[in-house]
């Protein structure tokens, strides 16, 4: 691939990013609604910690809520890309365009990261003001590094899940919500995974969110130095290195299935 070709593909990838931000602008009312809901949700969960009389519990829960907000947004934006295009009636048009599927998905994932970050930063600002949070001494750089590394496996999982609505328009979308729910349950978002029943705990160990939460909480609550966060960061990067190509291959296989069985139509 020449530099010229890479530039062309980058511009095509930007098409998806720009399109999605145009849609954000047009659905601005709904964006405000989701932002308010996410903020209220985070504040409510933080207040549970406050009601227990412990600042540490408050911060523990807030970190869980904020991180889950970011990671679930990332997963949702990638996993629902097919469902949403099918609902708009543009799925066939997008799949007919002379754009590598990797370029398409790269554009979608880039948008998901930027959108997720923007929303999470806004919620974080409101949360800091609401609770007068004091993060002096916290390892913010370490926390951001862990968060950055966590994007990789979540993108990989999102790519794999995005194939479900390709294969079954209605049930596929329902399945991605179930997957998201399971990740929420087993990853220690609002509680330590030790409280999970024994038979569920193996799922915690394979959920990338578990290591994300452990790493970020360590950095912010216990000021764990960045070097000590390397195990979590490496696990997340390794998970991403495995899940992204796997998710992409699954997506391509799903696309071939959809084209064989006529599933790209609006009604599937």
């Amino acid at each position: 691939m020449t530099i010229g070709n890479i530039w062309i593909e980058a511009k095509s990838s930007y098409a998806f990013l720009e399109r999605n931000f145009h849609l954000c602008k047009r659905y601005f009312g709904w964006e405000i609604v989701f932002l308010v809901y996410t903020t209220v949700n985070t504040l409510t969960i933080g207040l549970i910690g406050k009601s227990m009389g412990s600042d540490e519990n408050t911060l523990y829960l807030i970190i869980g809520a904020l991180l889950w907000s970011f990671l679930s947004t990332l997963f949702h934006e990638v996993a629902e890309t097919i469902s949403w295009e099918r609902w708009e009636g543009t799925l066939e048009y997008t799949f007919m365009a002379p754009v590598h599927r990797l370029t398409h998905l790269l554009g979608v994932c880039t948008y998901a990261i930027i959108y997720g970050l923007l929303r999470s930063i806004l919620v974080l600002i409101m949360t800091v003001f609401f609770f007068h949070l004091n993060l002096v001494g916290a390892n913010l750089i370490g926390a951001f590094l862990v968060m950055g590394a966590s994007c990789l496996p979540f993108i990989g999982m999102g790519l794999g899940a995005a194939v479900l609505p390709l294969m079954s328009p209605e049930k596929g979308s329902q399945a991605t919500h179930i997957i998201q729910g399971i990740i929420l349950l087993v990853s220690g978002v609002y509680y330590s995974i030790e409280y999970l029943p024994g038979w569920l705990r193996p799922l915690s160990y394979i959920s990338p969110a578990t290591y994300t939460l452990q790493g970020v909480r360590g950095a912010l609550l216990n000021s764990v130095p960045t070097r000590a966060l390397l195990p979590e960061i490496l696990i997340l990067v390794l998970a991403g290195v495995i899940l992204i190509p796997a998710g992409y291959k699954i997506f391509l296989a799903g696309e071939r299935y959809a084209k064989r069985h006529g599933k790209l139509k609006r009604s599937g």
Binding site: I8, S12, A15, R19, L23, E88, M96, P98
Partner: protein, 278 residues
């Protein structure tokens, strides 16, 4: 080289059989669902010359859209080979996609976005420079009698006719060599229909684009198409110029129309989609 060539193309769908009268036991429904085989395309072979407007006339469910989807690289044939300018639609997807564009019966847009934003998306996808996008799109829309003041309004505020004009502008923005028009004038008001038909003729005559046009409208097929294929049950029943097709039934009808041809060959009435909905 032919613009489009199909050799014995077939497509079968297996649909879940719903028997409303007899309720089958749950386990049987889960593990041995009844499947009905539907031959959507049943051995179609044809060629379209470069620069030709080729019509496909057929009732709903005859396989027109399925054929268009296959040529658009959205559906794999189960058998046979389909090529666009010599490129296989399955094996050389990227090359085919650069040569074609499609206008479907439902304008496939992001309805909340404006015409400008939708066309901008297309321009970026297809590598059309922005300056060219604005000039070309506005020139096409002007010819289609589109109000330029509405270029930045959300498409959901437009009538179907206006949306379809934007869809045509979008398809032509990429300067395709082969244009696939799947019932582009269905549901349009008479003036919009005339504008679109005139534009199709112009694009073909001035730019040499090859056009495949599926339609319910006999007059449209007669006016625009050099040759017409009549499709029913996934097969081409007959193929020829309008004159040749009418000659087939000349012994039964004085001044036969394409409707007479269609009725005699298929035994069915070609009901327009907008008539079916009333």
């Amino acid at each position: 080289m032919y613009a489009i060539e199909c050799q014995d193309v077939k497509k079968v769908f297996r649909k879940r059989k719903e028997n409303g009268k007899v309720k089958r036991p749950l386990l049987k429904r889960l593990f041995k669902p009844g499947r009905e085989v539907v031959k959507a395309i049943d051995g179609i072979s044809f060629q379209v010359e470069q620069g030709e407007i080729f019509g496909i006339l057929g009732p709903n469910g005859s396989g027109k859209s399925t054929l268009i989807r296959m040529l658009s690289t959205l559906l794999y044939p189960d058998a046979g080979v389909a090529t666009i300018l010599g490129h296989d639609v399955v094996k050389e997807v990227g090359k085919v996609q650069r040569l074609i564009n499609r206008v479907s019966v439902d304008a496939a847009f992001f309805k909340k976005l404006s015409a400008y934003e939708n066309l901008l998306y297309t321009a970026r996808l297809y590598g059309v420079p922005l300056k060219d996008m604005k000039t070309t799109a506005q020139a096409i829309l002007q010819k289609l009698d589109f109000d330029p003041k509405r270029f930045f309004d959300p498409l959901e505020d437009f009538s179907r006719g206006m949306q379809q004009k934007v869809a045509i502008a979008r398809a032509l923005l990429t300067q395709p060599i082969v244009i696939l028009l799947d019932e582009p004038t269905t549901g349009l008001d008479p003036k919009s229909k005339r504008d679109v038909q005139a534009f199709i003729r112009e694009v073909n005559q001035e730019h040499g684009a090859t056009v495949i046009l599926t339609t319910h409208d006999m007059d449209e097929a007669d006016k625009l198409c050099r040759r017409i294929a009549i499709i029913d049950g996934g097969k081409f029943i007959q193929l020829g110029t309008a004159t040749e097709l009418k000659a087939l039934v000349a012994d039964k009808h004085e001044n036969p129309t394409l409707e007479d041809v269609f009725l005699d060959l298929t035994g069915k009435k070609l009901v327009k989609e907008d008539e079916e909905q009333t």
